[in-house]
């Protein structure tokens, strides 16, 4: 395994790490999907997770947002282990992590406003959340978020009537409303054409200002354009981890090479 210069010094000294992965291994049954992953992310970093299909990128993101629990090792968010047995505390922690998906995962037969509001449900008491389905709450927040993603007039549209690009922007608006410290994106642009992809990437990096952004990407040129740090995953292990500028084309070729 190649291990190049660790995270940039300018961030290392500024604050505590936002995300810390320590000695994490994850197994599906008997097959190890990830082995001994160590990763530290500092506030404001923009990290691209790259590597061939099946390298474990999605699994790693699922470990980071708490969908999966590591077989061994710990994932800490803002210095607190994510695997808190207390559901209330764990939920409070998860509110600090926002995730954008390749398939958007919106509730298609709800109106856009409800999908955007899904971002603030965690902060509302349950009765307010239920009432909002009847009488939408937090309209101003939602409207601002939609304006930022360029859909100011779609507040009351039905989500399933939107195009793919628009749906992804609704998903981003949801994250804006959630306002998490950490932003995860799992292949956010693989369903979009190049023009839409640039739009979405610009939005993500824009929204991610001041937040830690980590996204898995297939398109290398997007990773190099929009991110400052690349983490290469191969066969469940970290293959390289360093600044975009420090990764050589040979390393990239090595990362994606087919087994002889």
């Amino acid at each position: 395994m190649l291990r190049l210069n660790r995270s940039p010094d300018r961030l290392a000294k500024s604050s505590e790490p936002h995300l810390q992965v320590q000695g994490v291994t994850y197994c599906y049954g008997n097959t190890a999907a990830l082995t001994d992953i160590n990763l530290t992310l500092y506030p404001g970093e923009r990290v691209a997770l790259i590597g061939p299909s099946g390298a474990g990128k999605s699994t790693l993101l699922k470990l980071l947002n708490g969908t999966l629990t590591p077989t061994t090792g710990t994932v800490s968010v803002l210095g607190v282990p994510l695997a808190d047995p207390n559901p209330r505390r764990r939920r409070a922690l998860q509110q600090q992590i926002g995730t954008v998906y390749q398939q958007f995962h919106l509730v298609e037969n709800l109106r856009v406003i409800h999908n955007v509001n899904a971002g603030q449900l965690g902060r509302w008491p349950w009765y307010q959340a239920l009432w909002s389905l009847v009488w939408p709450q937090g309209i101003e927040t939602a409207r601002q978020a939609l304006a930022r993603v360029g859909l100011p007039d779609k507040l009351y549209s039905r989500t399933d009537r939107l195009s793919g690009g628009e749906q992804q922007r609704v998903a981003i608006a949801r994250i804006l409303v959630q306002d998490p410290a950490i932003l995860l994106a799992d292949e956010p642009i693989s369903n979009l054409d190049p023009a839409r992809s640039h739009e979405v990437m610009t939005l993500l990096t824009h929204c991610g200002q001041g937040k830690t952004l980590i996204m898995s990407l297939h398109a290398l040129e997007f990773a190099q354009t929009y991110c400052e740090r690349l983490v290469g995953l191969r066969e469940g292990k970290i293959f390289f981890d360093g600044l975009v500028t420090a990764i050589t084309p040979q390393q990239i070729t090595q990362l994606y090479r087919l087994e002889p």
Partner: protein, 555 residues
């Protein structure tokens, strides 16, 4: 293409073996003699009265009131069973337990098991039970429908919820939303239309149940029909019959229309994999919510059930009394010796009934499907009349409650399992025929278009038949369990089997004996459930059926 789903080992199928055994059981146990030719004159009187229903103003007033009572029982019962179904369905769904208490599979299984108990007991037994707690209150009928139907609805709802795409829900959970709110936002909106569609179907079933409950004295059309049948006033009887037909016909029609508008898969169609998210056409939801908003309060007002009885201390005392007199069940050697042959008779009755219903249902479903005429090139106007005629017959069959059919058969047959089996068979034939016709109407047209220029008969036997038969067979097998549960109904009016014994025990207030009989009956129902599930699984597409949830019906 669905032709490939016809099972290869069709002839060796355990199903056929089972039916053979069932037939043997019946034939060896039919009491000699079974036919009573002396009853013809009364039957003829009964039939000829159909042309001269009593239309006097006084009777019409009674009819309107009875119709409203039956409708109100059905509406209130369905309303409560859907509420119960929502709570129970969420509580017994796999997804809820994965989210809230992951790793507690034990509790989940226990919950599912608990829900099976109210489901395994027929509404009429619940009715008899609640009469012992609440006397003659309309609450009895409402809860007798709501409880077992709530459990069935819970099962189907949990299946629908588990088959609904769950990623949006997980996304909410991951962003720290509490599971309850996450389910309301991420799962229910997507499952909503499928749930609603099933709710409508449940309403059709509730209506049939409401009529049946009249027979234990809950009032309404069922009661009036029983009364006029037993006091041999056939002209009045037919007035009530026509009212019941009108009521059921309207509800079935509206419900089918709404379900189609909602865009949901018909229950007999076999969905591949996950449920799709559906989109209603037109302002269906508005109409539905307006209708429900008016109808439900009206119905509760019309029958005004005394809900305070639910928690009245007197209810508790009576329950304790009942518990004392019903336990332990009387399971001595002598009662077992009495129960075993009756259990076999009852099993035989259910097999014969489902045979009648299945074969008749398949035969009548084709002419009852609106697209059938095209296959046979029957576009003439009489084709429409024929279609309406067949549908009318199916409606009549399923609308008249099974015990009433049994009483009609008892004109010319001696009490025993034969009139009971025929009554159950005819009633379920009406239900199966309609569902199968819906299935045929929703048939995938592509395989049929692949047979261009073929004669209608060829299209029918190579295209339509193979595509519909497997689903029909699977649903018939499912319906077998319902038939088993309903044997008690026809038994109560004297048509043999365990139901007959139960009726005798009931009039002797032999609660211990009743508990024993009921236990045997529930055991039989579970047995039939397991058997039918096994066979359906062996029919390969049956695996889909079992998982699909929407195919699950109820009475």
């Amino acid at each position: 293409m669905s032709v490939q789903t016809v099972p290869r080992s069709f002839l060796l199928n355990p199903l056929l073996l089972l039916l053979g055994v069932g037939l043997f059981l019946i034939l060896s146990r039919v009491e000699q003699p079974w036919f009573n030719p002396d009853g013809w004159p009364l039957l003829a009187q009964f039939l000829s009265a159909s042309l001269q229903p009593d239309l006097s103003a006084e009777l019409l007033m009674i009819t309107v009131d009875a119709t409203l009572v039956t409708l109100a029982y059905a509406v209130c019962g369905t309303f409560l069973s859907v509420l119960l179904g929502l709570v129970g369905g969420l509580g017994s769904s796999a997804i809820w337990w994965e989210l809230v208490l992951p790793g507690q599979k034990g509790i989940w299984l226990v919950l599912r098991g608990l829900l099976a108990i109210p489901r395994g007991i027929h509404e009429i037994i619940w009715g008899i039970f609640f009469v012992n707690l609440w006397g003659l209150d309309p609450l009895v009928a409402v809860v007798a429908i709501a409880l077992p139907f709530g459990a069935i609805t819970a099962k189907v709802f949990s299946e629908i919820l588990d088959e609904t795409p769950r990623q949006p829900l997980l996304t909410l959970i991951q962003s720290g939303v509490s599971p309850f709110v996450a389910v309301v936002y991420g799962l229910l909106p997507q499952a909503f239309l499928n749930l609603l569609s099933y709710g409508f179907y449940r309403f059709e079933c509730s209506l049939r149940s409401a009529a049946v409950l009249g027979i234990i004295g809950a009032g309404g059309l069922g009661y009036q029909i029983l009364l006029s049948l037993q006091s041999l006033r056939y002209n009045q009887l037919w007035t009530f019959f026509y009212a019941l037909l009108l009521l059921n016909g309207t509800v079935d029609l509206l419900s089918a229309l709404l379900r189609r508008r909602l865009g949901c898969t018909p229950r007999i169609a076999l969905p591949q994999g996950k449920l799709r998210s559906v989109r209603p056409q037109g302002p269906v939801l508005l109409v539905v919510s307006l209708g429900l908003g008016l109808l439900v309060p009206f119905c509760f007002w019309y029958i005004h059930p005394d809900v305070s009885k639910l928690w009245a201390p007197h209810t508790g005392e009576l329950l304790a009394q009942l518990g004392q007199s019903a336990f332990p069940p009387e399971l001595t050697m002598t009662t077992l010796q009495q129960l075993l042959p009756l259990a076999l008779q009852t099993l035989g009755m259910s097999v014969l009934a489902i045979l009648v219903a299945g074969v008749g249902g398949v035969l009548l479903s084709f002419p009852a499907a609106s697209n059938f005429r095209r296959f046979l090139g029957m576009d003439a106007p009489w084709g429409w009349l024929f279609l309406l005629g067949v549908r009318g017959v199916l409606l009549l069959f399923r609308t008249i409650p099974a015990p009433i059919w049994a009483l009609v058969f008892l004109f010319v047959l001696f009490p025993g399992i034969l009139p009971g089996a025929l009554a159950l068979g005819i009633h379920n034939l009406g239900i199966l025929g309609r569902l199968m016709a819906e299935g045929i109407e929703n048939l995938d047209q592509r395989p049929l278009q692949a047979l261009p220029g073929a004669s209608p008969l060829v299209v029918f036997s190579y295209g339509v038949l193979p595509a519909t038969l497997p689903g029909a067979l699977a649903y018939t097998l499912y319906r077998w369990e319902v038939c088993m549960r309903e044997t008690v109904l026809v038994g109560l009016v004297g048509a043999g089997g365990l139901g007959r014994l139960l009726s005798e025990q009931l009039s002797s207030f032999d609660y211990r004996g009743m508990t024993a009989t009921l236990s045997v009956l529930i055991l039989l129902t579970f047995l039939v459930d397991v058997l039918s599930t096994q066979v359906r699984n062996q029919l390969r597409y049956g695996i889909n059926t079992r998982k699909s949830g929407i195919i699950k019906g109820g009475s």
